[in-house]
């Protein structure tokens, strides 16, 4: 067997063919090298404005585009008829397209997300019932870590179609407290007590000023809303400390937060069954 190969080798490996092979290897090497360099440059330029995810996508895209073109050029240099390959690729693309509709939809949604940037890695978002910290923004999906340390993968298509709340987009956050006080309480005095508590809590912003709203006359209590602002990093601590301080101040001033109440009106004097004589 080796003798057969050695005997026919001079006919196959002509100088012209060897030269073409060498050229094709050179084309491939140059193409991939240029793709790598171009990808890195593009990633560096894009990263500052569009973030890491888009930069990585651009880097890989440019690399494989240059690599793909260089493969075609190398094959063409070797004398292979590209029309057959392109025809087969077209048929394959149609078949893959039907099979991967969902994936393609996710990829396109992922591209829109990367360009639109409603959130970035590190933000806390809420989508539906899921709330967590964004770990990564990939082409097909977004990965979250919930506050109880669960890993959640959300398809990009769902991120585009569903209303999404970014809890950490703005620097400030407002805490709305719904407070019910007894009907016997003096509303201006309650308002003053709440404002005093807010003034003494250093996490509660002086400006924007706390907001007091008399919501209305509830079934069991006077319904009030007291809204205060805080730096978003202090939101949770303010929520805890402020409510405790309000409770303490209400206790100190004797302001009652009533339990749900019902008043019964009897149509006539109540009748009690006669007691059994022992």
């Amino acid at each position: 067997m080796p003798d057969i190969i050695l005997n026919h080798l001079p006919a196959i490996a002509t100088p012209e063919r060897l030269l073409r092979l060498l050229q094709s290897v050179l084309i491939l090497t140059t193409g991939f090298l240029l793709g790598r360099i171009g990808g890195r440059i593009a990633a560096r330029l894009i990263r500052a404005n569009l973030g890491d995810s888009v930069a990585q996508l651009a880097r890989r895209g440019i690399f494989w585009l240059a690599g793909g073109l260089s493969i075609l050029a190398a094959l063409d240099n070797l004398g292979i008829d590209m029309r057959v390959l392109l025809g087969a690729a077209g048929v394959l693309t149609v078949a893959l397209g039907f099979a991967s509709q969902t994936s393609v939809s996710n990829i396109i949604s992922g591209l829109f997300l990367m360009v639109e940037r409603p959130f970035v890695v590190g933000d806390t978002i809420r989508i539906g019932d899921t709330q967590g910290e964004v770990l990564s923004i990939d082409l097909l999906s977004v990965k979250l870590r919930t506050f109880d340390n669960l890993f959640v993968r959300i398809p990009s298509e769902m991120m585009i179609k569903t209303p999404l709340t970014n809890l950490t987009h703005f620097p400030l956050r407002r805490l709305d407290l719904q407070i019910g006080v007894s009907y016997k309480e003096d509303v201006p005095a309650v308002r003053k007590a709440l404002q005093t508590v807010a003034e003494h809590n250093p996490l509660c912003l002086e400006d924007p000023q706390p907001l007091f709203i008399f919501l209305g006359f509830g079934d069991s209590a006077l319904n009030l809303q007291f809204s205060v602002w805080a730096k978003r990093e202090n939101f949770l601590e303010l929520r805890n400390t402020l409510q405790q301080e309000i409770k303490a101040e209400f206790d100190r001033q004797g302001i009652e937060i009533p339990f749900p109440q019902r008043t019964l009106h009897f149509a006539g004097p109540p009748e009690f069954p006669a007691a059994d004589k022992a």
């Binding site: 703005f170 620097p171 912003l205 002086e206 400006d207």
Partner: protein
């Protein structure tokens, strides 16, 4: 403007400190001993143990408390209730602690006691005070203080056109006054004068003034009162704001000398942008 070098706190033992005034400087606390500083609303304790310092602090209820007491070394035990303690370990713990005053680490927003407007073509000077910060240094060549505490914890506040853009500042409950005599002169507060000139024809409301504290230096006069440089704000006729900082505190500060450099280096562009949003 030329910059004068901040004068380093002099080496002074507690027995040499005039009572009620000089609570800052170098203090020697031998091993096993403690020191106590009562500076307005703030109580500070430092205990020197083998290989460590323990530093405790407690804030009082009254922001304008003005008494100053030093007890170094502390005769009695350190308190253990309502005090927040921190421990610092050293390979070889120093005997000497340097206590230095500093200004706030964020701008401070101060409001006039009543809404105020500056008519066109007029000028005024507003005087305001802000609490100083207390820094504890363990070594002369340390890059940063070991610990830094405000003498009074101011409330957070937001200064900006909306809740989306602006800057987090401190809100001062003490009010901006037109007369220096009406400003509380306290051993743990620094007085800042802001001169505003309105060259426009229309009145300019002055609902709040944002003191650019991190860009100001801290000075002290021979009575132990703290001052900053004067901030001069000019509202030109064509609009905008021009802001300057003087080299020295106001004339009322007398021979005050610089004791702490500004926290923020003077970056001209950033300074103007910050100062542009000085008035609300």
């Amino acid at each position: 403007m030329s910059r004068t070098t901040a004068r380093r706190p002099s080496r002074r033992r507690a027995s040499q400190a005039p009572a009620g005034q000089w609570w800052w400087g170098d203090f020697d606390i031998p091993l096993g001993q403690s020191g106590h500083w009562h500076i307005g609303p703030l109580d500070l304790w430092l205990t020197h143990l083998a290989g460590e310092w323990r530093i405790g602090h407690r804030l009082g209820e009254e922001p304008l408390a003005n008494d100053v007491r030093l007890e170094i070394p502390l005769a009695g035990p350190v308190p253990d209730t309502d005090v927040i303690w921190q421990r610092f370990g050293f390979r070889s713990e120093p005997d000497r602690v340097t206590v230095r005053p500093a200004l706030a680490d964020r701008p401070v927003v101060v409001k006039p006691d009543m809404p105020l407007a500056l008519p066109g073509g007029e000028a005024l000077t507003l005087y305001m005070s802000s609490p100083v910060w207390i820094q504890l240094w363990h070594a002369e060549d340390a890059a940063r203080p070991l610990l830094e505490l405000p003498s009074w914890r101011l409330s957070d506040t937001w200064f900006g056109p909306s809740t989306r853009t602006g800057e987090l500042c401190y809100g001062s409950r003490s009010r901006a006054r037109l007369q220096l005599g009406e400003v509380e002169v306290l051993w743990a507060r620094a007085i800042t004068a802001v001169t505003i000139v309105n060259r426009r024809h229309d009145s300019r409301p002055l609902n709040a003034v944002k003191l650019p504290i991190p860009w100001l230096g801290l000075h002290v006069d021979n009575r132990g009162r703290f001052w900053t440089e004067v901030v001069e704000v000019e509202i030109p006729a064509e609009g905008g704001t021009e802001v300057r900082r003087t080299e020295r505190p106001p004339a009322e500060a007398g021979d005050a000398f610089l004791i702490a450099e500004p926290r923020q280096a003077e970056d001209r562009g950033r300074l103007i942008r910050t100062f542009e949003a000085l008035l609300a």
